[in-house]
Amino acid sequence: MMNEEVLKHPMTKDIKDLPDNLNGDWRNKLMRWETLLMVFVAIAFFTNTQISPYFLDPWSLSDATFNFTEKAIIALPMALLIIARDIDLSVASTIALASVAMGFANTMGAGPIELALIGMAVGTVAGFINGWIITRFDIPAIVVTIGTMSLYRGIAYIVLGDDVYRSYPSDFAFFGQGYVWGVLSFEFLLFLCLAVVFGILLHKTTFGRRVYAIGNNPTAALFSGINVKRHRLFLFTLVGLFAGIAAVLLTSRIGSTRPSIAMGWELEVITMVVLGGVNILGGAGSIVGVFIAVFLMGLVTFGMGLMNVPGIVMSIFTGCLLILVIGTPIIWRRFLNARKMRSNSGE
């Protein structure tokens, strides 16, 4: 009797046919934020063309890129770091430290290539120190890098005081001011290439996958045989190196070093990353998103520049953007939940 009863019910579905994914469902999910960003980019672009007739001029467009390229270059490794549940608030101070080191080396007669190498080396060491303290003593990254933020900037002030390093060799100007092809600057080309490299690194390699694993669940990542500490140390060092590269570009572009150089950049870099859809709590985000966000930030700041908006207003704007960008997804989710509840109780 029991078995007849059973036979009336359908057999368990054939499990062999588990599809890879449900017709690109995850892709859709991934792309949603990026699509929204593209819409904003289009709006910002259109607004800028309305504000200034010169905006569409290739040279003026190229000029516009200088505003954000150095920050954008740091945003690439920073995105990986934040996806891995860490953060580095000391990048701007690292730039100051590296720039001061270059200025000092310049007074000792170093050539352009040596200067660049020194800038990058100092950045790398600064990043390594962050990572080493954080992973060796298990202190939260935010605490350590707030500390080194003051520390690195402080060293720059001690070395330089109220002085300014100037008179860098004329060849050194190429890094921050040179053009490679027509209106395409060296800086910007470097950023484009690095963006591609980071896109591949994060989305196609085992390293990138492990970064996601660490960011989503560091304990399970450790239990999966991933050397979590080594990966984190590497990421901090990488961010340091890129802060060093940014220091070379920036110092070369403005041709001088003051200890207050790049003040407040850490927030703009992090805003770019978070605006790009990287979860501030780690685990999710894409390089494409960060790439688009960089342009959005660039267009908006440039537009405000065209309208002669003072710098302090711009930084107010950056602050608001940061809150908005972190808050929106949370509020959006809450809204969806509330709607779901309402539709369910309506039945």
Binding site: H9, D20, F223, K340
Partner: protein, 495 residues
């Protein structure tokens, strides 16, 4: 028969790609224990979440004492006298045991402030009532998985309720604690409470349940009195076919020693652990909760530093400093806590399965996605994983299916030595047979397995030798021929 206190009619719940519940029904009677039975992914836990206001059903009715009610939030369930021990309890590692017990049910004093003194006292009484020997003032993170589980029982019992739901309460508990739990269930039953008891273990269903309800693929299959059915009947209703062999232990030829552990000690958790593991052997580890089995295994895997002792693997000294070292040398560990240590819930199934062997699935660092999917599909199929696609996040799977992902992830690495900690925790009877068959095949190929399990039939069915631990030390060793259930349990209690 008396009227049901709780009745569900035509309850449905759909998730993207799955109909988790398809107009199911359920009745719970006062003073009776009702078993809810079904394969992994049959919709049992989803039903519990509907009953406790965590999910809103797409349709159907919930009646309590014949009056229709709506469950919108966890507070509604409390108001209607429903309390639940969930399969994956949400607990807070940094809070104390007391704080966890009273997390959404605090006592206040006359000034409206939290009355910690009273709560600590009640926590102590509750834990004593459950016969759990933990200090209510220590943070939860210091407890073992099983003790955390017991704390979640205390949390559920801290509210007075007429309906108590237990979703796989005995997973990760061993013999002794399970007996305690039975006592508790009987006591609650005699107090006139209606109890819903979800389990994959038939011995306990027949031991303490009065009625049964079976689901298959989100549909109601049947219900009735336990006395009127046999295990075979229930299994047939669950899976639509009969499952013959549960522990298909294949006879293997056991070879030379692959691993030997000598005098391994830890400052507080275990001491003087000595054993050899041979090629093609399954070595069982049995013990009560807190006997230190998992701690020993985590030391072998490079997670817990040891104070003295030595290990050899394949004739060479073995001193892993990180799990990565252990994996590189061919020793892997399937942890007990699938939600925190085993799986990465917020990543897709295929990425979880391939994570430990990503290096092998890549060419100069670039992941070969096609091969990745192939490996994931192979293991998902072998372990009868139920999901809507390989790209679904593990968090959306049922508890048993999450466990299959965790096992598959490690079996896929082709190790030399594999340590499994409660490998079939929460896995249904059919899939359990598949896991055991799989382990049998692996040892037949010359792999060695260390199996920590609190399930006596599993240990006795699968293991070639059994080591019993008690309070951090080895209490007894048994060969396959001379192990009896009684002797093992006695050794585990330290008698």
């Amino acid at each position: 028969m008396n009227r049901p206190v709780l009745e569900l009619r035509n309850i449905s719940k759909t998730f993207p790609g799955v109909k988790a519940l398809d107009s199911v029904e359920l009745q719970l009677y006062p003073g009776q224990v009702t078993a809810l039975i079904g394969e992994n992914g049959a919709g049992k836990s989803t039903l519990v979440k509907v009953l406790t206001g965590i999910y809103a059903p797409d349709g159907g009715e919930i009646l309590i004492d014949d009056a229709p009610v709506t469950m919108q939030a966890a507070t509604d369930a409390k108001r209607h006298g429903i309390s639940a021990i969930h399969q994956e309890a949400v607990m807070f590692d940094e809070l104390t045991v007391t704080e966890n017990i009273f997390i959404n049910n605090q006592n206040r004093n006359i000034f409206g402030l939290l009355d910690w003194k009273l709560m600590r006292k009640r926590a102590k009484t509750l834990l004593e009532y459950l016969d759990v020997n933990v200090d209510p003032n220590i943070p939860l993170r210091e407890l073992s998985v099983a003790h955390k589980h017991l704390v979640s029982f205390a949390a559920a019992l801290s509210v007075s309720s007429s309906i108590v739901i237990m979703d796989e309460p005995t997973a990760s508990l061993s013999h002794h604690e399970i007996q305690e739990l039975y006592r508790l269930v009987r006591r609650l039953r005699d107090e006139g409470k209606a109890i819903l008891f979800i389990s994959h273990k038939f011995d306990e269903i027949f031991e303490i349940c009065d009625r049964y309800t079976v689901f298959r693929d989100g549909q109601f299959v049947g219900s009735g009195g336990i006395a009127d059915v046999t295990q075979d009947d229930l299994v047939a209703m669950m899976v639509g076919r009969t499952v013959s062999q549960i522990y298909p232990k294949e006879q293997t030829t056991i070879g030379d020693t692959v691993m030997s552990v000598k005098g391994l000690s830890h400052p507080s958790e275990f001491a003087d652990i000595d054993f050899d593991l041979r090629k093609g052997e399954i070595l069982g580890f049995y013990g009560l909760v807190g006997a230190g089995r998992s701690e020993v295994m985590q030391a072998l895997f490079g997670l817990t530093p040891t104070s003295s002792g030595s290990m050899e693997l394949n004739g060479k000294p073995f001193k892993p400093r990180t799990p990565g070292d252990a994996v590189d040398q061919g020793l892997v560990y399937v942890p007990e806590d699938r939600q925190h240590q085993g799986a990465i819930l917020t990543l897709p199934i295929f990425q979880n399965i391939t994570l430990p062997q990503l290096g092998g699935l890549s060419r100069s660092g670039f992941i070969d996605m096609a091969r990745e999917y192939d490996v994931a599909r192979e293991y998902a199929t072998r372990l009868q994983l139920k999901a809507s696609s390989l790209s679904e996040n593990v968090e959306n799977l049922s508890g048993g299916n999450q466990q299959k992902v965790v096992i598959g992830k490690w079996l896929a690495t082709n190790p030399n030595v594999i340590i499994v900690d409660e490998p079939t925790k929460g896995i249904d009877i059919g899939s359990k047979a598949a896991v055991h068959k799989f382990m049998g095949e692996l040892v037949a190929q010359g792999l060695s397995v260390i199996m920590v399990s609190s399930e006596l039939p599993e240990v006795m069915g699968m293991a070639d030798r059994v080591i019993v631990m008690h309070e951090g030390r080895i209490a007894a060793r048994f060969e396959r021929d001379d192990m009896t259930a009684e002797a093992i349990v006695t050794a585990a209690t330290g008698a």
